[in-house]
């Protein structure tokens, strides 16, 4: 199993934590029934409702606009000095999120991460695009940002942002999940005790790279692989499932979470599922939106151990353990 670089002792001595999160969602809230009427679902709305969904958020703006909005919101809310950001990671699940395309084919080299760095005056930030990880892009970015901070003595802050907007009229159901548009920005800081990263595991299984042709195999592989990666991440953190106070999920169907909870032996009451119905699956942003939402509702206490799990086409499974 692939494992993220272990920073070993340095990690415990110089903690990296997540100090701020902000997000924006597509402005249009569309009910399942309306999505069904528009021909944007594969399964009946009633079935998806039973699976825990009620609506999706669709954006009329571009993914870049949402990314800029989420990042600006975070910078505004924290008041952090923009020149103190050492690195900017920009994640997107689809190729269209990684180019600001015009009619000139050469515009494929127009990258939104550079545009964002310029427009938001993150003048010292080294820019990275993180792609081809599907719904895992933001979690992988957070891990890459942590490693960037730990491996650069003079670096102290890194910003990660993911933004995904599906094309207009596109189907909004993928593998029995309802998909929303949105963007999320996550700020990591060195020597920050808040939401300290205790462990991270990621595994790629290339056999499932063709998500359409191997749809059934992915559905079947999803659960045992998820179970194993959660188990391994907990072991890396020196924890077991009973130590987890809260699971911050990716917003796939509640049904699939109920099945996975049975595999990882964690009670349903620990799953923060409040956003699944109304927000649906915001591609790479779910876990972080849920962390922010759980924090705002006062559900989390200092020292709580949090488990974040996600899966992305590609095919990647990832699990992160945080200490709140």
């Amino acid at each position: 199993m692939a494992r993220a670089p272990d920073s070993g002792q340095a990690n415990s001595l110089v903690p990296v934590g997540i100090s701020a999160i902000q997000y924006v969602l597509g402005s249009d809230e569309i009910s399942l029934e309306e999505l069904e009427a528009r021909g944007m679902l594969d399964s009946p709305a009633a079935t998806l409702s039973e699976f825990g969904f009620s609506s999706a958020r669709l954006s009329r703006e571009s993914s870049y606009t949402l990314a800029a909005a989420a990042t600006s919101k975070l910078l505004g809310a924290t008041g952090v000095d923009r020149t103190s950001i050492d690195a900017l990671f920009y994640a997107g699940a689809t190729p269209s999120c990684h180019a600001v395309v015009t009619s000139d084919p050469r515009s494929a080299f127009n990258y939104p991460v550079a545009q964002l760095q310029y427009e938001l005056e993150l003048t010292r930030a080294t820019a990275f695009g993180v792609s081809q990880l599907g719904c895992l892009g933001l979690m992988a970015s957070v891990m890459l940002a942590r490693d960037f901070l730990l491996s650069n003595e003079n670096a102290s802050r890194a910003l990660c942002v993911s933004a995904d907007v599906l094309p207009a009229g596109c189907k909004r159901e993928m593998m029995y999940n309802v998909i929303s548009d949105g963007a999320c920005a996550v700020l990591l800081e060195k020597k920050c005790g808040r939401n300290r990263i205790l462990a991270y595991r990621q595994i790629t299984k290339g056999y499932y790279w063709d998500a359409i042709a191997r749809k059934n195999e992915i559905t079947a592989a999803y659960f045992p692989t998820a179970r194993n990666i959660v188990r391994d991440a907990l072991a890396d953190a020196g924890l077991d499932s009973s130590d987890i106070s809260c699971i911050l999920p990716h917003n796939v169907s509640l049904r699939s979470w109920e099945i996975l909870l049975g595999l990882i032996q964690i009670g349903r009451e620990k799953l923060f599922a409040e956003n699944i119905a109304k927000m649906a699956h915001v591609i790479a942003a779910d876990n972080w939106i849920n962390l922010q939402a759980a924090t705002e509702t006062g559900k989390l206490c200092h020292g709580d151990k949090l488990l974040l799990f996600t899966f992305g086409f590609g095919a990647n499974w990832a699990c992160m353990v945080l200490e709140h």
Binding site: Y207, Y208, N216, T219, A220, P224, R227, I259
Partner: protein, 367 residues
Amino acid sequence: MTHTVLITGATGMLGQALVPLFARRDDVEAIFALTHACEYSDSSCKVTPVRGDVISGPALGITPESMREILDRTSVIVHAAANTRFSASLNEARSVNLEGTKNVLAFASRCPRLKAFVALSTVHVAGKRTGIIYEEELDHTSGFVNSYEQSKYEAELLLRESMSALPISVLRLSTVLGSSTTGEVGQMAAIHHALRLYYNSLAPMIPGEPESLVDLIATEYAATAVEHFAVGHFHAGRTFHICGGENALTLARLLELTREAFLCYRPSWRKRAIEMPAIVDLPTFELFARSAEEVGDNILRNSVAIIKHFVPQLAYPKIFSDVECTCSLQAKGLPNPSVQEFYPQVVRWLVESEWGEIGTLAGGAGV
């Protein structure tokens, strides 16, 4: 003393193995191989194929021209015909397993020379019972995992009622996996299909405990044991477990052995990095199965359909005592081959023959 044997289900997985064993015996002078198959052939001159069907009433669908001779000559009946499809409805299963047995019993009552009626059953008449299951036990109210178990249980009740009138012995077999020498599988059963699902990354989870026992036996052992108890060592009124007993593999070990065999006999399988199915509690498995049925496409639904009618049995851990059976067989020098040793050979045969679709292996002519 010589015997004339009537075998029902002669073309079934075990029937195929039994006919040549009886034909080889000097004390068997003739074999009537009852089958509903259109074509049946056997090289032995002792074997007479008989068209018929156990569901066709007390005459078993045998023509009047053949009937008198079969009734007059039969001294041993081995009732092997069964509907072993776990997904069958209870009515379908009863039609063969219960009503069929009733018909064969009626037929047997008309055989003046009958000395032995051997009914093949399943250890899983124990249904959802847990713990140690002894050979003489039958009655319980624990329920059943599928219609096959229930219909065979009901057939055993009928057989026990008939023991006062006929010389009946019941042989309960566990899952017959394949040849212990060649690995060949005569007829694909649910377990073989389940292994294929794992191979193809379509088996996400199995209900049970890692220590749940999966009782598997080799075809040769099953056939030899049936032969032993049918001719020469028949015990009227007795029930025997032909199974692995205490030597059965745990579910966890079975999955490990399967993975090792896949990697060994199809090295390219490694690059798929397919996870072993997770062992989960029954409610979790049932929730997955229900979800797949609700929204999955045909492949996923069919995959779930293959396993959902039998793997829940693993959620009811039990061990089948085979003390009486092994005492009798070991006294005759008939050992039960180690499943740990023959299991990989069966998986090899499945992998290399692509589950029987591309012919047999060199030297793969099994029973």
